[in-house]
Symmetry: C2
Subunit: 211 residues, 2 copies
Amino acid sequence: MTDFTLHGYFRSGASYRVRIALNLKGVPYADVFHHLRKGEQREPGFLALNPQGFVPALEAEGDVLTQSLAICEYLDELFPDPPLLPATPLARAKVRAAAQLIACDVHPVQNLRVLKHLREVGLTQDQATAWAARVIGEGLDAFEALIGRQSGPYCFGDRVTLADLCLVPQLGNARRFGVELVWPRILEVERACLALDAFRRAAPENQPDAE
Amino acid sequence: MTDFTLHGYFRSGASYRVRIALNLKGVPYADVFHHLRKGEQREPGFLALNPQGFVPALEAEGDVLTQSLAICEYLDELFPDPPLLPATPLARAKVRAAAQLIACDVHPVQNLRVLKHLREVGLTQDQATAWAARVIGEGLDAFEALIGRQSGPYCFGDRVTLADLCLVPQLGNARRFGVELVWPRILEVERACLALDAFRRAAPENQPDAE
């Protein structure tokens, strides 16, 4: 019996972020998987937990938390070591901004819900894929510019931060949509992250519900 | 001369959030407006500040901060009174999740950039507007369910939080897209917020660049 239950889906990039955070913090958790392509996140039992019908959701303290970045910051406040954010307000803001660039401006604009919606309003599958690829490409261009000013193996230096937790899952999506990864600093960071057990264990292909 | 310069646009919902935060904290700031419909955010001078080419951006401490929620949390850390987040990790996570529901899953999926993109791939103006209205409606349905469990004049009780800073600007967008506002708790919160000087002074129509 663990204190935390993560509702997720192997291929959900936002669930992947939370899995990395749990692993980095060494927090044991139980998994409940919801197959998004089969619409299991719209079943009444799950909607009672999260009215938005999205994964991830984390059962904790007899309550339910939603939104991956809010969950990661919650875990960071409960289990401060290792920290996911630097110490000064300015440095914290820069890490959060990089994370939000992906979590606000890239991922939700290219996720399954939006692509389905695009098909419903008449776009072809190829047009929907091109949409996703363009959104990801524009976002990663800006992300590369942001972190290009930093040094160190990870996005913001010698420690993994919330920015790395967002970047690595997004690169998985980028590849699925055929985006050519032309960003040297981003690829260098990805290599450093994937050398860590916490990232590898969180990867989609290593989840029990992987297809 | 002030220590903070906000790059924004009167109608940008994300800039509006930051204006409310600055006003609530009583922090003086200088304004620079970029006319998004004229594409001024793509000019080289601004791209040098924010490679993503989005507003808001806040010049602070000789650096540039981007992403509205990251900026609001930065201001909250520098100027803790009044706080924009509650005290316990669980309560903070719930406020952040409500804020992110809007900042990740609603606003970026219906903003000017995406609507322009939809027109480019062949949707009519009416279809693009219907898209925005649907995204907003689904998001506010979930938001109402989240905050319906709370009492008090604001989203999460007796104090304004980051959730209110996201909700009020989003309702302005909802009206612009003709969304019928059918959520009683949301409307009650909006009334309470708009009774505050910090919200009213931040409103789009009260900005010097308002049309």
